[in-house]
Amino acid sequence: MAAVISVKNLTYEYNVGTPSCSVALDNVSLDIEKGDFIGLIGHTGSGKSTLVQHLNGLIKPTKGTVYLNGNDIHSDKKATREARFKVGLCFQYPEYQLFEETVAKDIAFGPRNMKLPENEITSRVVKAAMYVGLKKEHMEKSPFDLSGGEKRRAAIAGVMAMEPEVLIFDEPTAGLDPKGRDVILSLVKNYQTQTGCTVILVSHSMEDIARVADKVIVMNKGRVEMYGDVKTVYADCDRLSAIGLNVPQVTKVFSLLKEKGLEFSDDVYTVEQGFNVLSEYLKRRDLND
């Protein structure tokens, strides 16, 4: 399949020419394939946010190129602006970007900047609100009157309403309680299955990523350490823990059980999966008895 985003030899340094100069990305090359759901994982400071801000042209590379559908996004102003609209980026704590009088107006901010016709804007706002589960009565409220979780969903809708080809979420579950986290993850997953667009989800929780993503990019100190299917990457426990990432606890429990001689598969990443595997195992055992 064709790569929708292709990054070639990307290097980025913050504060070039000052004493606090630091290399945030170090010769990164990767291809993002159309329709994939990719998890981007890495330690705090490994360069995840810096990388995703390159993909929609917010940051200009120190060295290297970013291609969107084969075109260099920094070749001219028009290409950069196109990248802004085709690659949607939802920042960490996106609720701090809300500013309009009503939620509906705020969600419409992106589409309006795209200079879409008014009826198209309205229909996109309605659709985006549906994807994030905001009800009609929310839409005419001030965004500052919403609850924390609702604010975050409104902000996410603001990016979804632009209907980008690639949608990037930078730690969308940061600072939420487990229930809020589940809600956000499942709405992102639903959005991806319904629209079929490419999604990149940045997180430092391996469990969150295992729950929704098909492929994983592991970053470490500004480099891409691993890139592959969830199963392949997660199987390399030693390498992951060497860079300070721990596979989910359930996965560990199951690999220990396997060492004890029980027949379990390796790809148990969430508590739910673990529960299913265990209950199946118990059922089988009862039948055998």
Partner: protein, 271 residues
Amino acid sequence: MIKDITIGQYFLGNSFLHRMDARMKIILTFALIIAIFVCKSIPSLLLMVAITVFLVAVSSVPFKMVLKSIKPIAIIVVFTGILNLFYVTGGKTLFEWSFIHITTKGIFTAVFMAVRIICLVVISSLLTYTTTPTMLTDAIERLLSPLKVFKIPVHTLAMMMTLALRFIPTLIEEIDRISNAQKARGADLDSGGLIEKVKALIPIIVPLFVSSIRRAYELADAMDCRCYVGGDGRTRMKQMKLKGSDFVSLLVTAVLIAGLILLNHYFTKVI
């Protein structure tokens, strides 16, 4: 653009300027700034420039940063220079055309004002470059503490200043973050006329205010939780003590300023 702001920036170092007592540094800075405007003869101005260059040299602040502090006032320097050049009359007239008179005094005034402004900015930025903001406000609080007699809340004012300085980098970071988030939603901050540009700031300013107010409340709560009640009965972890070298600096500065006044007195004043 916004990262060019150098006010309140501190440069780690161990020069004698860094080690000088902050109170003494403030007083001497003020003394020098007043001295700048005493200079009316060429030798006295040269001595002032020499003092400024010496201070920059011993401060261990990168020369690039000193230039950066002058950059924002370059326009003011040029503007006042041109005004002085054209409008100050006196001395020999060199050129005359309708309302424009270029005179020797005009030229001298233009040059003197430019040099004075640059010296002023360099010396006062050296103060902030070599003193941490906390030291600075601490020193200001102590220098102003006699005003407590007149019921002026010196401690509160100093605390407000500390907090304001503390939050400058935070605000800059916040502006960066919010404007990036809005740009990701297609906000166009650079093109369009003046009115469009001002309108384009709304999506940045509103979230900035909201988060600043939230931050202020959080900070107030955090201070309450740590039993902050203002200046009464508050002791200090860091005591300030004048050292021998501080008095030497005072003496040297006094001698230099006396020298300036003498140079001014015995040579012709050109402005």
